[in-house]
Structure formats: C-alpha cells, structure tokens
Amino acid sequence: MNAILDGFKTAFVLLISGDKEVIQITWLTLKVCGTATLLSVLIGLPTGIFLALHDFPLKKIVVTIVNTGMGLPPVVVGLWVALLLWRSGPFGFLNIIYTPTAIVIAQAVIASPIVTGLSMAAIQQLDPNLPIQLKALGASNLQTVCILLKEARLSLLAAVIAGFGGVISEVGAALMVGGNIKGYSRVLTTAIRLHVSRGEFGYAIALSIILMLLSFTITYILTRVQQRRTIID
C-alpha cells in the first residue's frame, strides 16, 4: 500500500516539476502513435472501402485475413517486424531497427487491419442501394465514395479511434523493434514496463497517468468530431 502511495507522491512531483525525460517520452509517444495511426488510416481506409464495395474472387479469404489481423498479438508483429528489419534481414539495409521508425512500422501493422476491418464494416452497414441511388442522381464514382464516407463517418471515426487505441496501448512490439533506448526510442508504454521491472512505481504511475490523459484527450477530440451533427441554417 505504501508503495502505491509513494508512487502517487513521486508521480505528482514529476508531473508538477515538468521532468525533461517525461516530456521527451510523452512527445515521442505522441509522434510515434500519431504517425502510426495516420499510416494505418491511409492504408486501412481505402482498403476497407474497396473490400466493402467490390466483389472479386478470393474476397472471403482476404476478409478473413483482415479479420484475423484485427486480433494480431503485438509480440508476434514485433517479432516479424524485428526479423525483417534485423541487420541480416531482408530490410536490414534500411538500418531502422531500434529506432522510432521501426516502432511506427510495427504499430501501423498492428492498427491497419483494425482500421481496414472496421472501415469495411462501416461501409457495409450502409444501405446497399445507396451507391445506386447516388449514381442515379448523377454522382461520379469519386462523388459516390465521398458521400458514402460522409454517411459512414461515425463508424469510420470509431475505426480510427480503435486503431489509435490499439497503437497507444501496445508495448510488446515497441519494445522488440524499438529497443527502449533512453532518450531515443523510449515511449510511454515501454518506459512504464521498465520502471515497474525496476520497482520504481512513482515513475511508472506518473507515466501511466500521462498515458491515460493522452489517450483520453485524443479519443475525446475524435469523439467530439464523431458526435457532431451538421445542422444547416
């Protein structure tokens, strides 16, 4: 019990004093998770829309792979990304193992299937006759997709939120491909894990509070956007 109380006290001091290391870790986490989420949206959204709107041979297999990917264990992703980026691996020449870039790649791999699967479901939830009705009103293919995105925006933002959630809470892959190098590739989750293993609960609690605040703030902003309803005067 004392350890917890001490932890909270240390956390309070660290947060109030604006510890440089804490700020650096938080900023890196924000950059890495933001980039990974953006990448996953850039990959997952078009893929999800394509899968929702087109039929092709082996579609069911592709959808099954995407759905399986939604539950990919981060350590497995970490292992495979590490193997690929390892100096002797196929992409070793890039020299990005144990860098924030490697964490971004691993996290994007984790989040992309989540965004893809949920985007696909979001578009499929719309009435299947909607694209035809839009085309009957003279919409081009691009205009049709834009309207579908607008109609499915609530569910699509939920997909983005889920992708971000998957990225910011992930520790296994970030540790394996990022190396948790102090001042370079240490993010909030890997730092928390390190401090807990050392018994430094104050530091861990402080970082966990920041992580929770960060997660809440970004999710709150996305939720505000999601729940906003356009009223035209």
Partner: protein, 348 residues
Amino acid sequence: MIEVLRLEKIKINKSKNTILDIPDFKVFQGERVAIIGPNGAGKTTLLKVLAFLEEPCEGERYFCGEKIANGKRQLWIRRKMAAVFQNPLLLDMSVYDNVALGLYFRKFPEHDVKTKVGYWLRTLGIYNLRNQNARDLSGGEAQRVSIARALCVEPEILFLDEPFSYLDAPTRENLLVELKTIVDERQITTVFVTHDFTEIPYLATKTCVMLNGKIVQAGMPEQVLYKPSSARVAKFLGIENIYEGRVMASTGDFSEILVDNLLMKVKGRCEIGRSVKICIRSETILINEEVNKSNVFKGEVKEVYYKGSYNKLDVDIGIRIKVSTTKNIEKGQKLTVAIPEDKIHVIN
C-alpha cells in the same frame, strides 16, 4: 417519335440463371412506360439497365440512337436522367441539401441551386421542412423529398421504381396526382415500375408486362389490362374469372364458347372445335341488368366480400364467377348476371 432509349439483345445472368432477357425494347420521347409484373419478374433490373445503373452481361444499349459503352459517356447520360426509388435513401443532412444533391454533383452554381431547390421544395409542398434533417421525416415527406431531388435536376428521362408502395393510400393518391401533373406539364419521358396495376391507366401511355425476366406483353394500358396475352398475365392483372372452354360456333363477328354447361357468346371469330381460355374482369359483369339477350345467367350469391367502396360477389351461375358491384347484395340472394360479349376476352 424520337427514340431515346433502346435495348438490344440484353441478357443478365446470375448464378447460371437468366434473370433478364430483353431482345428488343424502345422508349420514345414523351412516353410514359409502365413496367409491371410480380415480385422477382426482373422489373427493377430492367429499370436499372435502362438507367445505366447496372451492366448487362450481353447486349447493347442506345441513347438517342448512339451506342453506349462503359465509361464517362455513361455518367454524361446518367446526368440526363433521374430516379425515384421505393425506399428513398435520404442522406444525414438537411432536406435542402438532399434536394440539392443532384445539382451539387453536376456542379451547378450556388445561385442556380438555391433557385431550383426553392422552386421544387415549394412545388412539392415541403419548403417548410427545408432546414429539417431528412432522417426525421415521415414516409410521405421523405418520398416528396426524393421526388423533388429527382425533378430538381430537370431530367430528360425520369425513372420511378415503385415509389409509392410504402405509402398509405391517401398519401399515395395525392403524390400520384401531383407527379402526373408535373410529368404532363414538362413532357418528361417516364419509365415506372409498379406491381399496383391501378396506377397504370392513370400514368402510363404504354404498358409492359414482365414474367421471369421477359417482357411477355406490351401495348396500350387498356389493351394489356383487358386483353391479357396469357392466363398468367391475366392472373397477375387481377382477373379472377379465367375459364377453359371449347369453341362451338363462329358466325359473323361472334363466336360461341361452351364453358362447362354455359354457352357464352363472345365478340370475334374463333376456330370451331378449338379449346380456348377466356377471361372476364369482375367489374365488367352486370348484376340484374339484362342489357343483352345473350350471356344472361341466373345465379345465387355464395359469398360477399366487402372491399370498402365496392363488394365482390362469389356467384354460382353453373360455374363460380366473381363480380364486383357497388350494389348492396346479400349472401344467398338470387340474381341475374349479364356478361357483355365484348368484355369476354379469348386468350390466344
């Protein structure tokens, strides 16, 4: 007349079944074509093919004589058309924006959009709803928005896919009257799909009956409604009195057909001895009015079905015959049934 749409040897196959088989079909400028048929007959598929919303597996489509392949030309043609569907899928935005959608797609200037949308909102009596979210409307209001949305783009061809089937009777009737007035005034070529054949004489100038993906009969509405080409078409058109008989005599302009033990005189010549089917619309049969000397039969009312504005009688005249009447008739009543000779249609 100018031909605006033509289908040639169109086929659509799904799961090894041919769901649409149209060897030749034309729509002329200013025509109002009704496509009728039971569920699953291929009406909506035909409408989608005509409106360039579905690609046929085989065949060619022509617009104003020009053969149309895939690609941008189709978008150009689609922008000369508009459609109203059974279920108006309005978007999660204001009524104004929903009505303006087709104009936005065509990149009309904002000033024109405002004028056109305002005009159609007023014409269809929904101007007061313009700021309301379209998802909060009643079924009738939503369908009005959908009609305004289609008419706003001033289409050369208007497609209607059972637009009134989800609406209650008074709303349906009001909208039908308003739509007919607009279509008449603007001379819009219209193709509409329905399974409610009471709408046909009101709206259509040409009627096509579809069964199993094929057009089995096409012609003027009265011709189709009163002279069906087959017993299946007759049944679909709500003709309950369909009988098999044999031609006993054929002299002058009339023939005599024996149906069970009743000899019926019909207009037109038939081959003597041939087995034929005849059909009689229940509303053309007269009760207790002996207008002709022939085809007058005594009978007894076996059942009375109250249909609101009229009664449908099941009368035993030696054969069972259904009669629609506004007269107050009771079950068990004895009466005389007269069938005008020209109202009996011999199915070839």
